[in-house]
């Protein structure tokens, strides 16, 4: 098996919670990401699924070096990304880019679109001004925009077009990995399809890998090769997408799938309705973090934390039902 493009090992990010204004004292930690391992293969999509507070956004920020991990490693093409400086850091910035959820917040309304797209090239001194303009035009065409629109400002474009601009600005430096954080949730239904098709086309054409964060399971199933389900900072289910959705193992995954809205009125399946709220990441439950809401809970679950272990070939689950 070839070397993965990106892999995370024992990744942890704990945010200290402080009290007091002048002399702040740490009273606890929010364990946003708590010991996760995953890898992304070149040209493939890893879907990261979970609800609020599960840690998927923090994970994406760690990969983008917007946060430093409390412990653990992230490696890109075998090299650790932490402590990178100078040229290595510049190269990293070229190789790993992002598209965020909100098309209205992702673009600087005071910059013409061409400059926004060119930014990663300008900052990493990618080439001459002419080379950069050419690349900008190239990438605009790739995402379905007209190069002449480069002089216009973001507010002159629709939501779907703005996401295309955001995508162009991510693609400009020819990255190997793009972090897509809910790339279509803020768009209208008919526009979502356009963007999802575009993302797939680009992946096929340019062999770009994606880390796709989404709460909509159907979208993840449509786009991702591998899927990881997160709950309260941990990965509880991790398998190739088809395997995850067809051979449903973890009770939380079952509940997520049951909560997916039906495609047709006759498919109003009978649901597993989880009781209670998602516990706070400040004070996660003991043992298996899901045990407080799990319909299949056993006495063991409150005491021992189940490790993420392979249950069937290629399918890893963190659940006592399968160990």
């Amino acid at each position: 098996m070839t070397e993965p493009l990106l892999c995370a090992e024992s990744l942890r990010k704990h945010f200290p919670v402080t009290k007091g204004i002048l002399f702040a004292k740490t009273v606890g930690h929010v364990k946003a990401v708590d010991d996760i391992d995953f890898s992304i293969a070149t040209g493939e999509t890893l879907g990261l699924v979970g609800e609020s507070g599960c840690g998927k956004t923090t994970t994406s920020r760690l990969i983008l070096r917007l946060e430093q991990p409390t412990s653990g490693q992230i490696r890109l093409q075998g090299k650790s990304i932490h402590g990178m400086q100078g040229k290595a850091l510049r190269d990293y910035r070229r190789l790993v880019q992002a598209v965020f959820q909100d098309p209205w917040s992702s673009l600087n309304s005071r910059m013409p679109v061409g400059k926004i797209i060119a930014e990663s090239l300008v900052v990493t001194q990618w080439g001459s001004r002419r080379d950069i303009s050419q690349r900008v035009a190239e990438v605009m065409v790739e995402v379905g925009l007209r190069p002449a629109d480069a002089q216009h400002y973001p507010h002159e474009f629709s939501g779907g077009q703005r996401q295309r601009i955001a995508l162009a600005s991510a693609l400009a430096s020819n990255p190997k990995l793009i972090v897509l954080d809910e790339p279509v949730s803020a768009l209208d239904v008919s526009i979502r399809a356009q963007i999802l098709n575009l993302l797939k086309d680009i992946q096929q054409r340019d062999n770009v890998a994606y880390l796709l964060i989404a709460h909509n399971l159907a979208t993840v199933r449509h786009m991702a090769h591998q899927t990881a389900v997160m709950y309260l900072g941990q990965i509880v289910d991790y398998a190739p997408t088809e395997e995850l959705f067809c051979n449903v193992l973890h009770p939380y995954t079952k509940a997520l799938l049951a909560a997916v809205l039906p495609d047709h009125p006759d498919l109003r399946n009978d649901e597993i309705v989880l009781t209670g709220e998602v516990p706070s990441p400040l004070n996660p439950p003991s043992g298996c973090r899901f045990h407080t809401r799990c319909p299949f809970v056993m006495p063991k679950c409150a005491q021992d934390e189940p490790p993420l272990r392979e249950a069937t070939s290629g399918h890893r689950v963190a659940c006592h039902l399968y160990s």
Binding site: D188, S190, N197, A218, D263, H264, D266, L267, E271, G276
Partner: protein, 326 residues
């Protein structure tokens, strides 16, 4: 479902009067809602569905917006002609509304108990002692855990799902005939959304309340609704019983909309897309408003707005192509 029509909207027109001109956001919308029924009003952003809801409650932003034509019959009475004072009596008690953002639906400086009390006290004037127990009962009805403690809490101390439950409790506290739900679950997590939709369904079944469910999500329609109306650029283009519309969507927009959503059941390589964008309200096409984006459009479609054609029992679509086939 019973046959009593509790809400009937006839040819509703709501216009926005802006500096740059008149914008006809709701341009001839008609539908009816029977007792105990859930009607889904589906459309993308900007199609006019939220403005339709505000028009029913006469909560349009003034002076910019005004309902210029049409009738809204609540139990037979036209509420568009009522005075402000009469409308205030109707809002909350006969028609209630819940909105998308639980954050802004609740007043951050009052406790949950205070906000509910305000509403419930109106139902039982003079009976001060019974109000708080009724408040707790209302919270229990929406399955809010530990209601006795919650009444002293402030909105910021609760999660999104809990807040929406409180909003729901306030909305149904006076047992309205009609509940208008405008995308109430968009901001909620998937499993919380499920809990909430189940709750709404239960509440509705227990009280025979009619729900007008406004959403862009066909999944919600499939799960919750008995009938569905699809809206595009200010008008309803297709409506009918939910199974019929799903099995046999006849308007090209409905077809494309349903086809563009990734499905769990069936995997496709490429999703169906609709070229272009919805028209700007200031620049509406003369004929069918979907014609510029419709793969089937011909000359007649571009010049004349289609009539309504019956496709099945109570299932209509406003499309010339449907008319030709029928």
């Amino acid at each position: 479902m019973s046959g009593d029509i509790v809400l009937e909207v006839r040819d509703l027109h709501t216009h926005f009067f802006l500096r740059r001109g008149v914008v006809k956001v709701v341009d001839g919308v008609s539908f009816s809602l029977a007792r105990g029924e859930v009607l889904g009003l589906v459309g993308e952003s900007g199609c006019g569905k939220s403005v339709t809801a505000l028009s029913l409650l006469r909560l349009l932003p003034q002076p910019a917006a005004r309902t210029v034509q049409g009738k809204v019959l609540l139990d037979g009475e036209n509420i568009l002609t009522k005075s402000d004072r009469e409308m205030r009596q109707i809002r909350g008690s006969k028609i209630a509304m819940i909105l998308q953002d639980p954050q802004t639906s609740l007043n951050p400086v009052f406790t949950i108990g205070d906000q509910l009390r305000e509403s419930i006290a109106k139902l039982y004037p003079g009976q001060h002692d019974t109000v708080m127990p009724r408040v707790i009962e209302a919270l229990r009805k929406v399955k809010l855990a530990a209601p006795e403690q919650r009444i002293d809490q402030y909105p910021h101390q609760m999660s999104g799902g809990m807040k929406q439950r409180v909003v729901g409790a306030i909305a149904i506290s006076r047992e309205p005939r009609v509940l208008i739900a405008d995308e109430p679950t968009t901001a909620l997590d998937v499993t919380i959304q499920l809990q909430y939709l189940k709750l709404l369904k239960e509440l509705q079944q227990n009280s025979d309340m009619a729900i007008l469910f406004i959403t862009h999500d066909f999944g919600i329609v499939a799960k919750m609704c008995d009938r569905v109306a699809v809206m595009y650029a200010g008008r309803i283009v297709e409506s009918g019983p939910v199974r019929q519309v799903f099995d046999n969507p006849r308007h090209p927009y409905t077809q494309a909309l349903i086809g563009s959503v990734p499905k769990m059941r069936r995997q496709v390589g490429r999703l169906q897309t609709i070229e272009g964008q919805p028209p700007a309200f200031s620049d509406l096409p003369h004929g069918c408003r979907f014609a510029p984006r419709c793969p089937l459009a011909d000359d007649r479609c571009q010049t004349t707005y289609p009539s309504s054609f019956a496709v099945g029992a109570e299932h209509t679509a406003d499309c010339w192509k449907v008319g030709a086939a029928v």
